[in-house]
């Protein structure tokens, strides 16, 4: 699919490119706020530190004129529609700035009846990629500072958005680091795989950032909170950590949109998206399901076919 887009492949994406998206977002946000299509727009505002941005809900034209899009706009804003901004949705339609990967989350949430399409005005971003963690934030996106998930992005175009900001461009010849890492892990002997994950999970401090930024973790009561009975040990020790991350991966199987926010926010750098990716891969192989940009009737684990594979069952 990307082969077609070769003419748009460049070695670096200049700040001008993001500036153009910024202008387009501002124009659209101002318009929909002015004509009262929406009660607010969830977008990005610049942060204090150079090359940073943070999510914001803007409700006035003045604020909307400050919205930006830059490689620092890493957040998946759809999380706000199921968590903090739930209340906003009750007041009316909300505008949301969404990259392709974020739109998969929106589609998934619509599949699960958490959102209605008509409640949203989606300002899609034709996104060439965003920064990885701890990289140099120069304003220009290059192979050196692009996020790992963006290296294999298949959703540069936010199809199905109400408007799209930006023109297609992507970095050329990106190595698929995550796919390579997947292959590396899969090729490991089983004991080594266990050791790999054990080491990662042991570092977990259960800050729950992975859960809190996940658009799909909208349960009111989480399995890893204190429960009766307690299925997952709630204290941050290796045993409970392992159980927590496995349970989380399982709960996201067939739902995760692959925005990799869990991995990005992990203060301990646990490669959580690998788990999600493994599950996605399995569901693709078994049931031909892929998280897409349009809502579906049911997720792969909420439906079944009578002739599903059962070679593993005696």
């Amino acid at each position: 699919m990307n082969a077609k887009a070769n003419k748009n492949q460049v070695t670096c994406i200049e700040p001008d490119y993001y500036q153009a998206i910024t202008e387009a977002i501002r124009k659209e946000a101002v318009k929909i706020l002015k004509d009262e299509t929406v009660v607010g727009v969830v977008g990005y505002l610049p942060g204090r530190r150079k090359g940073t941005a943070s999510p914001a809900l803007v409700t006035t034209v003045e604020e909307a004129e400050k919205l930006i899009f830059s490689p620092a706009c890493v957040n998946n804003l759809s999380v706000y529609l199921t968590k903090a901004k739930k209340g906003v949705l009750k007041q009316g339609k909300v505008g949301i700035v969404a990259k392709g990967c974020d739109m998969r989350a929106l589609a998934g949430l619509m599949t699960e009846s958490q959102l209605q399409r008509e409640d949203l005005f989606i300002i899609g971003v034709v996104c060439p990629g965003v920064y990885g963690f701890g990289v140099e934030r120069t304003g220009t996106l290059t192979e050196a500072n692009i996020a790992r998930k963006c290296r294999e992005c298949t959703v540069h175009m936010p199809e199905g958005a109400d408007v799209a900001a930006g023109t297609h461009a992507e970095l050329a010849d990106l190595t698929p680091e995550e796919a390579q890492e997947m292959a590396r892990i899969e090729a490991m002997p089983q004991a080594e795989r266990w050791a790999f994950w054990k080491e990662h999970f042991s570092r977990c401090i259960r800050c729950m950032a992975c859960r809190q930024v996940c658009p799909f973790c909208y349960c009111e009561q989480c399995l890893c909170d204190k429960n009766r009975p307690q299925a997952v040990e709630s204290s941050p020790r290796p045993a409970g950590n392992m159980a927590w991350h496995l349970v989380r991966a399982m709960h996201l199987a067939g739902r995760c949109g692959g925005c990799a926010e869990c991995e990005r926010v992990c203060p301990m750098d646990i490669p959580l998206n690998l788990l999600n990716r493994r599950m996605a891969q399995e569901l693709k192989e078994l049931y031909d399901f892929e998280a897409g940009l349009t809502p579906v009737d049911k997720g792969p684990l909420n439906e079944y076919k009578e002739n599903d594979d059962q070679s593993f069952i005696k």
Partner: protein, 167 residues
Amino acid sequence: MHVEVTKHDFEPKIVAFVCTWCTYAGADLAGTSRMQYPPNVRVLKFPCTGRIDPVFILRAFQKGADGVLVSGCHPGDCHYMAGNFHARRRFAAFRALLDFVGVDLNRLQFSWVSAAEGGKWVDVVTELTERVRTMGPMPEFKELEHEEQWSGAINTPELKEAYDSIG
């Protein structure tokens, strides 16, 4: 009378999560028919395989199971119409996940055993028990249970090891 049984060095702990309508009845049948099967298996009864959450399997391993069996009605026979169809997909995914984090899937068996299949129950349990017996105890999750973050451990084994190697 006491039946003489072969003594093994290692008796694996097997936890079986079964649905009450088919497999539990099947196991019952095996019992009432006086069929012999390894006493290593601890049976836990659920309304349906659809109720058997993957976290139960994790929990079983964590609490010392060396092998886990999940068994329910044959496809199409579910008392609740489709519980086992859903379970089938879920377990297929869960297997992939366990494999990915390095758990040996030979310790986890799924099966369909109907109320009439006392013999199949015996076969499944025996096979799993013997397979796990040859594999030996499952150390991974159990070890994890006793591990602490370094700061919470009073004297970590790693440290001890380090001291030994330097000393």
